[in-house]
């Protein structure tokens, strides 16, 4: 097990973002097959492949596809979540930039399976460069009849639009994304069981499918190559491949598509190993998941089951490796700052709680830590976790609670000694060493 390029098979072929080159490499074969298939067979193939959503939650993709009404009686929509905002993750960026036609083709296939005539790709505003590749791909696909009226003579029409975001992590949350697409603030919406599922009543109260970029691209591969070949890869409950974004203290950071179940340490080796010291910790799946110690990493395989068995999550696949110069408390302070900034403010536990977490961690890192601060952090976490309106609140707590579990001694050291256990050259830098002049900007 190791690197296994399916979505990224032709990533490095020059000009692959153009339709002619894409077609030469089997591009739109999946769509041609889908057009000839029974609509239900498309869904069944995705089911047989065992594909689970790659946006973070790992929800079985076919269940969503199967949930939309199987007729054209009322409008349906399919959405692509390209709002990639989870710190540490940059797989969708490269996918959009290098193989935009994989996404366009995947969405066209999904539109057939779900009887949807309109699709939107919601791309975060910062991603103008990758978005231009998608724009080009859509325009080329229209010109060739892969999009638009009567796709490949199937009698099925499908229009695909781009909708650009404007800077908000919360808009990656699917119901907040829908609010944003409808021209509102990016606040999440009431969810099942208090409201119907999006597949019943999503945007404009119409049945709506939402999937991550990688999920659509994987579905396209499955239809093009058959579910058996996909399901042969991976583990019992995690099939196929996952694109992992590896960053931090590694020699060769970048995106690596690996077979599910690949040992974490093997990927770390593939990414060139740790630089400037020894491995101290890894965050396997983006900032929202629990940090793991170097010893724990030895046991982790990159699949859903192994990650949860070890107390973390595969998440969005944003794997960050840290060497022994890294100060975990300062890192968590920065993490909490992120969630405080991105909290949409709709619900009290998250709006207030993320500020509390930040303030306490900031106090500890400014040398003002008090006995009991760690318990206070855990208490605030328990008040947010499970009580917030959307997943952002939970995601703000997991890393903090996880870091306390794995590196409690570092928190205690900070509180007792008022300085980093790593020493003055720690990263992220402690304030005194970063920039004394910056204190002018304090409020």
């Amino acid at each position: 097990m190791a690197i296994r390029n399916l979505i990224f098979e032709f990533r490095d072929v020059p000009g692959i973002s153009n339709l002619d080159v894409w077609e030469k490499h089997g591009g739109y074969d999946g769509l041609k097959k889908a057009v000839a298939m029974e609509r239900q067979t498309i869904v069944d193939e995705v089911k047989a492949a065992g594909l689970r959503g790659r946006g973070g939650a790992g929800f079985p993709t076919w269940i969503k596809w199967n949930g939309l009404p199987k007729n054209y009686d009322a409008p349906h929509y399919i959405l692509c979540n390209a709002d990639e905002g989870e710190p540490g993750t940059f797989k969708d960026r490269e996918t959009l930039l290098k193989v935009p036609h994989a996404l366009v083709e995947g969405m066209a296939i999904a539109s057939l399976a779900t009887y949807s005539r309109v699709g939107f790709i919601y791309i975060r505003g910062e991603y103008a460069e990758p978005a231009w590749q998608v724009r080009k791909a859509i325009d080329q696909a229209y010109a060739k009849g892969y999009l638009g009226k009567n796709i490949l003579g199937s009698g099925h029409d499908f229009d695909l639009y781009i909708h650009m975001g404007a800077g908000s992590y919360e808009c990656g949350e699917e119901s907040a994304l829908m609010s944003s697409l409808m021209g509102e603030r990016g606040n999440p919406r009431l969810k099942f069981p208090h409201a119907p599922l999006p597949t019943v009543a999503g945007i404009w109260q119409a049945p709506t499918l939402i999937n991550n970029v990688e999920s659509y691209c994987a579905a396209r591969w499955i239809i093009a190559h058959g579910s058996a070949e996909y399901a042969a890869l991976g583990t019992e409950r995690s099939k196929g491949t996952k694109i992992m974004s590896v960053s931090g203290h590694v020699a060769k950071p970048g995106n690596y598509e690996v077979e599910m179940g690949t040992p974490l340490m093997e990927l770390l080796q593939a990414a060139g190993g740790v630089t400037n010291g020894r491995l101290k910790a890894v965050i396997p799946g983006g900032s929202s998941v629990q940090i793991m110690t170097a010893e724990q990493c030895e046991k982790i395989n990159l699949d859903y089951e192994s990650c949860s068995a070890n107390g973390t999550l595969l998440g969005s696949g944003g794997m960050m490796a840290f060497n022994d110069l890294t100060d975990i408390v300062l890192l968590m302070r920065r993490t909490s700052e992120f969630y405080m900034h991105e909290s949409c403010g709709k619900c009290t536990p998250c709006r207030e709680g993320t500020r509390w977490l930040y303030k306490i961690l900031d106090r500890i890192c400014s040398g003002g830590g008090r006995q009991g601060d760690v318990e206070l952090l855990l208490d605030v976490c328990s008040q947010i976790d499970g009580r917030s309106y959307c997943g952002l609140g939970d995601a703000a707590c997991w890393p903090i609670a996880g870091a306390i579990k794995a590196f409690r001694h570092e928190f205690d050291y900070w509180i007792e000694h008022k300085r980093s256990p790593v020493g003055a050259q720690c990263v992220p830098p402690a304030f005194e060493t970063i920039n004394p002049a910056l204190s002018l900007t304090a409020s």
């Binding site: 103008a128 909708h163 974004s245 405080m340 990263v427």
Partner: protein, 215 residues
Amino acid sequence: MAPNSINPLADPVAKPVALEESAFLFSEEAVAELEEIATHYPERKAACLPALWIAQREYGGSLTPAALKEVAERLGISYTEVEGVATFYTMYNLRPRGRHHLEICTCLTCSVSGAYDVVHALEHAMGIHLGETTPDGEFTLSEAECLNYCGAATVVQVGDKYFTNITPQNCISLLDQLRESPSYTPAMLADSLVKLHTPGAGFKGGGSYTPEDLG
């Protein structure tokens, strides 16, 4: 508050004192763009985000109360609704920015890869602190949350471009390059984001810069 914290409350948005009767500023092409984009959705209101991008371009890079008013009237929704949207998202500028707005990522990976050293170097070179604009109006420097290109830390976004693998050394040549460049302005970013919505708007190119490109 910590010295380098992002305090969302520290930078309040100036409230409009009174909404003067102002002439609408959208050009004919801008109106055509807005009308085309509005056809993508079953409701006009859904075009609010792209309409604000158009306004940000037409009003020279930032959204004044007059700009918000024009958007509200053209979409047939209330001023308050538009203001609510414009204040939610970080990429809408409610205050004027410098000709180049540098947004430096200091999030997880960048923070352990020297981003704060780059912040320090940029502040020193520009003579301003985070969140400020140089007196000549050339640069604004802000701290950004993860720009999601962590593999190329440290990342700085200027206009619609990501400048990658930025260090305290090459950030100085980045400033020199920007000073010479008419591109990467807030208005051009807005223009790019508007055109992305429109089919057949034409491919503009892209691709990130690396230290080699910076010379």
